[in-house]
Amino acid sequence: MLQPYIPILLLIAFVVANAILILGLSHLLSTYRRTPVKLAPYESGMPTLGDARERFSVKFYLVAMLFIIFDIETVFLFPWAVAFAQLRPLAGVLILEAAVFVAVLAVGYVYIWKRGALQWD
């Protein structure tokens, strides 16, 4: 049952082993010449000013969240399309079901649009 997947698993195993081998060998065979200045963050040759941890704008989170929602909606439509092909006699009911699903999400879409969540600035 899992027969077709064996080549993929082999490939994954080989890739992981290769990566570990390369990194491990270079770690083992190398010399480390660490000095405190060498390890300091690079800031054009100047001593650093503060750290790099900045607060992210919440816009990115918002866009990601909205994308997930509508992407999942699309994902749900794929099996629906496959089932539609196999359930031809019930065409009307199936279309109605899909229309209700999309309409609910469309109401949500209009809501976020009017609330300005799609404005980047």
Partner: protein, 209 residues
């Protein structure tokens, strides 16, 4: 200010025994391979401050292509650079910057001092200019000129490639980090004074009260 500090090194047992070995066919073949790879893929960090930087850009451009020597990709971060090309005069105010950038470059690293100002201070023998970056960082190749012609810079780069091809990976002294000492200097003070002494026409220029 963080420029001093011991170089922490973990010597490997294998490398220690290899460097104690006398050169044999395997190490020389490995040397050849390593040096060939290093010399033909030198990624420069252009530390361009003045006119020599323009000549460096001209050398990298299409007429006097530097890419054919493997120097295609200029690295403006010291972390990914092999050779620091100091192109231009260096004021004392910029001295800690170049020292820090040199310290932040990982081994193996080399330095080309391009132009008269980087090599000796050039025409600027005064209160504000470093009289040669070799008082601050170790230099491998000096390229004279004001500014050097692109052909001159390429000759310097080829000289560096020849120097690299003569190295050996078993020689740890080549890859030693020499940080700034606790007195704040990279070289002993009398050596700095000796390197910065006026010469040529500068001897006659002693304007003071």
């Amino acid at each position: 200010m963080g420029l001093t500090g011991p170089a922490v090194r973990r010597p490997r047992e294998e490398l220690a025994s290899v460097s104690a070995m006398s050169p044999n066919w395997i190490t020389t073949r490995l040397d050849f391979l390593t040096n060939w790879a290093r010399a033909n893929s030198l990624w420069p960090m252009p530390f361009g401050t003045a006119c020599c930087a323009i000549e460096f850009m001209a050398t990298a451009a299409s007429r006097f292509d530097l890419a054919r020597f493997g120097m295609e990709r200029m690295s403006f971060s010291p972390r990914q650079a092999d050779v620091l090309i100091c192109a231009g005069r260096l004021p004392f105010k910029l001295a800690p910057v170049i020292r820090r950038i040199w310290d932040q470059m990982p081994q193996p690293k080399w330095c080309i001092s391009m132009g008269a100002c980087a090599s000796t201070g050039g025409i600027f023998d005064n209160y504000s200019m470093v009289q040669g970056i070799d008082t601050i960082i170790p230099v491998d190749v000096y390229v004279p000129g004001c500014p050097p012609r692109p052909e001159g810079l390429m000759y310097g780069i080829l000289l560096l490639q020849k120097k690299i091809k003569g190295e050996s990976f078993t020689d740890d002294s080549l890859r030693e980090e020499r940080p700034v000492g606790p007195d704040g200097l990279y070289l002993p003070p009398d050596r700095v004074d000796e390197l910065s002494e006026p010469f040529g026409n500068s001897i006659s220029q002693t304007r003071s009260a």
